[in-house]
């Protein structure tokens, strides 16, 4: 998201998620969401196109997969 987050934008996002937040709640959350989205940009800046998302996390099995796929340099 570019620019500052407004409480109206928070209210719109909350409605999409089927939460009805009052104006006061949205004002409280707007600066926090802005900070959080700026943090999210740190991940967006990484090229993760080759990485499948973890859904059910089983680290032992994931390592076996990573090694089997030759993703780790030898």
């Amino acid at each position: 998201m570019v620019g500052s987050v407004s409480s109206d934008q928070v209210a719109a996002l909350a409605r999409v998620a089927r939460f009805n937040l009052g104006g006061e709640r949205c004002s409280l959350l707007a600066p926090q969401l802005e900070w959080l989205l700026s943090e999210a940009a740190k991940i967006e800046s990484l090229d993760l196109s080759a990485d499948e998302p973890v859904n059910v996390f089983r680290p032992g099995e994931t390592i076996t997969e990573i090694e089997a796929e030759g993703e780790v340099a030898h």
Binding site: F19, R25, L29, L36, A40, L46, D51, P53, G60
Partner: protein, 472 residues
């Protein structure tokens, strides 16, 4: 033996006393219950103390030991659990108003395994509301035994404070971003977060399914190995539970360490409060003196870890809590409520990108572990603060910055005490390994602990009086 010495024995020594009949489980349990009565008004570590059930379990342990029915080292040993673990017939509140009257009819698998081993459950410990980083005013902050004007840390706050104060030998906790290791660091004890899937989470209130781990808080590494041995292993009731066989953790503690290579997480040595880097640096030199090779390691994508934790934990927690958040939002502590509302606002693309990032992070750690056996660094950037910082804010991220990568990757990590900072409060050294390498992590932790000896330090709580002179 003085009362102080009794409360700070390690589990093998207590077990030996029981078998020699120089102490009895009933006497020890009664002494611990008396100690809780004296100390807990200052510390606020317990939500529920189970006096009569504990004494009944102690009597049973005593009778069984007399008959030669030996269930192992935890038999008759007083332990506690964070009040987020279900206990059959005993109120389980999660330190929330929402669950204030909730009495489950089944125990969590980890609790059941402790009880099956003959442990005596003395109580349910205070925590941050639903383990989500905020004190609920109905329950209040748990104070640090080293300085009661500071927090014991969270979210397994009561578990850490109770063990540090000699109110039991071990406590079960949960760790989603650092909630076992951070309070262990602040309270000068051992906090072990095993590999994701190593210990069942059945019967434990979820916070964030893909990040939650069950582990232990103890005063020594050997005690941590004993507890892990008891609670680890496959559980058909938890679909994330691993079928990989459980090692003999205690037997492997004393194996040689001179061929071990330790990677120093140099990115975790930045932005530390004054004094922390010196204490942790000295701990790393102690590892070197023990014969281990030391080398720096670098994880290229590590800078995304704090954000990834929030982008996963916030929406997952909101999904867990959405019904209550709609029905009774005012029952939450204000900041818990804000964090839960925030979770509804996270775009799904950011959540999924964070899940992609976790695989990348694990891949980079696997690469680093081709050269090293464990990685180390500070557990926390500071000594225990006055209050626990909010999770979804700058200070909360800073606090969990060094612990959260091991929740994101599911790797085992332990915090062991490594000295004291400028405020005279404990500092923790974090040691982490590859998934399912708990034996290696504990072996390095044990070698360090035995050489450094910090586990012999005790909080300055006197019988009937706190270090500040406050009557108990």
């Amino acid at each position: 033996m003085s009362a102080q010495e009794l409360f700070y024995l390690d589990i093998p020594s207590l077990a030996e006393h029981y078998r020699k009949r120089s102490m009895s489980p009933v006497e020890v349990t009664q002494a611990v219950l008396d100690r809780i009565r004296r100390l807990d008004p200052l510390l606020n570590a317990f939500i529920t103390v189970l006096e009569e059930p504990a004494l009944a379990q102690a009597r049973q342990a005593e009778q069984e030991l007399r008959r030669g029915n030996d269930r192992g080292l935890l038999q008759g040993v007083p332990v506690s659990v964070k009040d987020i673990f279900d206990t059959a017939g005993v109120r389980t509140t999660a330190a929330s108003r929402i669950w204030r009257d909730r009495v489950p009819n089944k125990s969590a698998t980890a609790v059941r395994r402790l009880l099956d081993a003959g442990a005596v459950l003395i109580g349910k410990c205070n925590l941050l509301e639903f383990a989500y980083g905020i004190v609920h005013p109905d329950y209040g902050q748990c104070n640090n035994p080293w300085n009661p004007s500071r927090t014991s840390g969270g979210s397994s706050s009561g578990s850490a404070a109770s063990v540090a104060a000699g109110m039991g030998w071990a406590s079960l906790g949960t760790d989603t971003g650092g909630s076992i290791r951070l309070p262990a660091s602040y309270c000068g004890i051992v906090g072990l977060k095993p590999t994701y899937g190593r210990v069942s989470r059945y019967g434990v209130a979820p916070l964030s399914w893909s990040l939650d781990h069950v582990g232990s808080l103890t005063r020594t590494v050997e005690d941590a190995a004993i507890v892990l041995q008891t609670i680890a292993g496959h559980d058909p009731l938890d679909f994330t539970s691993s079928r990989i066989p459980v090692s003999d953790y205690r037997a492997r503690l004393r194996e040689e360490v001179h061929k071990i290579t330790v990677g120093v997480m140099e990115q975790h040595m930045d932005a530390l409060r004054p004094g922390v880097a010196e204490v942790v640096g000295e701990a790393i030199r102690e590892l070197e003196r023990a014969g281990m090779k030391i080398r720096p390691v670098h994880i290229n994508s590590l800078q995304g870890a704090d954000a990834a934790l929030l982008l996963v934990i916030l929406p997952e927690a909101t999904v867990v809590h959405q019904e209550w958040l709609r029905k009774c939002p005012e029952d939450y502590a204000e900041m818990t409520r804000q964090q839960l509302e925030m979770g509804a606002l996270i775009p799904s693309v950011d959540y999924l990108r964070a899940q992609q990032y976790r695989r990348r992070l694990l891949k980079e750690f696997v690469e680093v572990f081709r050269e090293v056996d464990v990685v180390v660094g500070p557990t926390a950037p500071w000594e225990a603060p006055k209050e626990d910082p909010v999770v979804a804010a700058g200070e909360g991220s800073e606090e969990a910055h060094r612990t959260c990568p091991f929740n994101l990757t599911g790797m085992p990590a332990v915090s062991v005490p490594c000295g004291f900072g400028k405020d005279g409060l404990p500092i923790g050294l974090q040691i982490a390994g590859l998934p399912m390498a708990e034996a290696m992590v504990l072996r390095v932790a044990y070698a360090y602990e035995q050489r450094a000896g910090w586990f012999r330090q005790r909080p300055p709580l006197q019988e009937g009086r706190s270090s500040s002179g406050q009557a108990l």
